[in-house]
């Protein structure tokens, strides 16, 4: 329990969010969509962290989430830079068509 919110609620929400993000990462063809789905997955992890931190009575969870968000920012910027470079080259955002390393 964190306050009056049971931990199980938090975890189910986190799991559901993670699954949504995972589905998006695996099933979408657009590179942007894959990026966004990955962000969703990270947020799901954040939620779980906060939940457990509260349940254990410590602020460690929040501290970690802080770091995770910072890292996510860095990662998003680099990923978008890659996306920009890719899009300039190939004029497509379909991941299926980016297969130069095919056998």
């Amino acid at each position: 329990m964190i306050g009056s919110v049971p931990l199980s609620d938090v975890l189910v929400a986190s799991a559901a969010l993670f699954l949504v993000g995972l589905a998006g990462a695996l099933l979408r063809r657009s590179a942007i969509s894959i990026f966004l789905s990955i962000e969703v997955m990270m947020n799901a992890a954040n939620l779980a962290l906060i939940g457990y931190g509260g349940a254990l009575g410590t602020r460690e969870g929040q501290l970690l989430v802080f770091f995770v968000i910072a890292i996510a920012a860095a990662e998003a910027s680099v990923g978008l830079a890659i996306f920009v470079a890719l899009f300039r080259h190939k004029e497509t955002i379909d991941v299926n068509k980016i297969n130069l390393l095919k056998w």
Binding site: L26, V95, N96, I98, N99, L101, K102, W103
Partner: protein, 646 residues
């Protein structure tokens, strides 16, 4: 004693000569090589005699000089040590001196035809040979002797194949080495046996132990001695391992003189004599030695009768004379055998060097049918050659007579009358084929080409001087070994060798002393046979110009062909041994190496390639597929954890 040189100087000087010639000879020129090559042996001779003369005039006590310990492994130890005793002293006396004369001869013989590099190579190998031979005869234990044994085999190979661009010579070198190796295997087995029995390879440990307790060692010694004898058979060209010696004539003639007449081939006789204590405790082995010696003597003499190459006649003659030496050892007359080694070195070397002078004068021709009438053109060569021939034939009072007579007398004394008859017959044949050689070469009309006739000239002094010296020695050396009928205290030579031939506890085949009359009879018989052989040879080939033998050969062409082709022994060996072995090697190559070993490698490479070919389809280049595979792996792991963890 401190003023004397150490024994080690004697082999060390030729070794230094070898190193200098092979490292610097090409650059510093022929004069340098001549000086160093012959000089090192000359110095070694001087040093040797500085030790030998006091030795012979002193009390004949053996001197052992130990350089250092060589191998110590468990209970086995062998030292680097040299030994000077009557036997090694006798060997050293002629090995160094004759070796030196041949080095001097070589200067004249090899100088003009060879390049700087070839000349240097020749002398360095020759010096290396001298080093090995001296190590062999001066060694204090079997291991040191074996080092020298192998060394002379190596040098023999190198020198036979000196003209390496001639396929025949290269093949002859290989043949010599391989056949020698077979003998060496026997020698090694013998050495292993000796170590097993006596726990040491040192002469001062093995022989006294054997002599002291014959009953204990005698049974095993027969096998050991036979093994050792196999080594001697190989090195000293006896039946059946003699086949390399005639082919070895492909090398330069001084090499034939030194290695294949005077020194290396006598190493087998030396070894058997050195081990006389062991042999005398194994009468069966001695009988084998005697029989093989006798058989070889007559077999080789018969082949020599029909050979046309001057060097081949001398080669088979050497094989035959070596047979005599082993015959002597086999009947227990070791001193007589060694005496024959001693005298044979002089006259055989003289004969070979003389033939070298003839070949040199004939511009390289070796076929006697193309020679003739050379006596007037090459007088020094002729007279020295004749002297050596008479010595070899056994005409008194030349050296060969005394040594051969000593052997025949001992064989008769021992009661082996068949072997005596063989020996006597061989003596006759020897005289016959040698006279044939002399007649064909020096008598009658010249049968060669005009060009060759113009080229004929006597050899330079560097070649004729050794000839004269050796001929002189062939004449007088016999007086060291007078038979009992002529001098009461008998042979000085034999007396000198007595310390090496100790009395054994066993009752050796009671050698009944021959009465004087019987001895004179024997002497008469051998002289008669020799003279008869010489006369027949002269009449058939000298005066008769080969008419009679021509008719005989025409009457029995098959027999003649067989003898002329040395009884086709080489061909026999080829079929019996060489071809099956070759087939085996070929089989091993084609099947084991190519099919199996290479096959396994190729197969593994093939499978790796196949795996790669199949696995590359996983690389679709599509990121989604990679992400999926990551996820699938994760799910798999998760299931595993759930399955096992809970």
């Amino acid at each position: 004693m401190s003023t004397l040189f150490s024994l080690w100087w004697i082999p060390a000087l030729p070794l230094a000569g070898f190193l200098l010639c092979i490292l610097f000879g090409k650059k510093l020129g022929k004069s340098f090589v001549s000086a160093v090559g012959a000089g090192s042996v000359g110095l070694a001779t001087v040093v040797a005699y500085s030790r030998l003369i006091p030795f012979f005039s002193g009390d004949l006590a053996p001197a052992v000089e130990r350089l250092s310990s060589w191998i110590t492994a468990g209970s086995f130890s062998a030292d680097l040590a040299l030994r000077l005793d009557p036997l090694s002293a006798v060997m050293t006396s002629f090995v160094t001196f004759v070796g030196f004369l041949i080095h001097v001869y070589s200067i004249g013989y090899m100088r003009h035809d060879e390049t700087e590099a070839g000349y240097a190579r020749y002398f360095s190998y020759l010096n290396l040979f001298m080093f090995s031979m001296l190590i062999l005869i001066l060694g204090q234990n079997f291991l040191v002797m074996f080092v020298g044994w192998e060394g002379v085999g190596l040098c023999s190979y190198l020198l036979i194949g000196y003209y390496y661009d001639r396929e025949y010579a290269a093949a002859a070198g290989k043949k010599a080495f391989v056949v020698n190796r077979i003998g060496d295997f026997g020698f090694l087995l013998g050495m292993f046996g000796i170590f097993t029995l006596f726990g040491s390879l040192d002469f001062d440990r093995v022989f006294p132990a054997a002599a002291a307790d014959p009953g204990r060692y005698a049974p095993a010694l027969t096998v050991v001695c036979l093994c050792l004898f196999v080594g001697a058979v190989g090195k000293s060209a006896q039946v059946p391992l003699y086949v390399w010696l005639p082919d070895a004539m492909a090398g330069p003639t001084p090499v034939s003189a030194l290695i294949h007449a005077a020194t290396m081939v006598t190493a087998g006789v030396y070894m058997v004599t050195r081990c006389n204590v062991l042999f005398r405790l194994a009468p069966e082995a001695m009988a084998v030695v005697a029989v093989i010696g006798g058989v070889t003597a007559i077999f080789a003499a018969v082949i020599a009768v029909a050979q046309n190459d001057i060097k081949k006649v001398l080669a088979y003659s050497t094989v035959s004379q070596l047979g005599y030496m082993f015959l002597a050892c086999g009947v227990g007359a070791y001193a007589a055998g060694m005496f024959h080694v001693f005298t044979h070195a002089f006259f055989k070397a003289c004969l070979f060097l003389g033939s070298g002078a003839v070949i040199h004068a004939m511009g390289g021709e070796q076929d006697m049918r193309k020679m003739g009438g050379l006596a007037s053109k090459l007088p020094i060569t002729f007279w020295t050659f004749l002297a050596a021939t008479l010595a070899l034939a056994g005409v008194p009072p030349l050296a060969g007579f005394f040594s051969k007579d000593a052997i025949l007398a001992s064989v008769f004394e021992g009661g082996s009358y068949i072997l005596f008859a063989i020996g006597l017959l061989t003596a006759g044949l020897t005289a016959f084929y040698m006279m044939r050689l002399v007649s064909l070469t020096f008598a009658g009309r010249f049968r060669g080409t005009h060009e060759q006739e113009h080229h004929l000239h006597e050899a330079p002094a560097s070649m004729t001087l050794p000839l004269v010296i050796l001929a002189a020695l062939s004449v007088v050396a016999g007086f060291l070994g007078l038979p009992k009928v002529l001098a009461e205290n008998g042979s000085r030579f034999a007396a000198m060798l007595e310390p090496v031939l100790p009395k054994l506890a066993t009752a050796e085949g009671a050698a009944h002393e021959l009465s004087h009359s019987v001895e004179w009879l024997l002497i008469g018989a051998s002289v008669l046979v020799a003279v008869a052989g010489l006369l027949v040879g002269w009449s058939w080939y000298g005066r008769g110009q080969g008419a009679v033998p021509g008719r005989i050969a025409a009457a029995w062409p098959g027999l003649y062909a067989l003898v002329a082709e040395k009884f086709r022994i080489d061909e026999l060996y080829d079929v019996l041994f060489v071809r099956p072995f070759d087939a085996l090697c070929r089989g091993l190559w084609k099947v084991v190496d190519v099919l199996i070993i290479d096959g396994v490698l190729n197969a593994s490479a093939f499978f790796v390639e196949l795996a790669g070919d199949l696995l590359r389809f996983l690389q679709t280049g599509n990121v989604r597929n990679y992400a999926l595979s990551l996820f699938l792996g994760l799910v798999g792991l998760l299931l595993l954890v759930i399955g096992f963890g809970y």
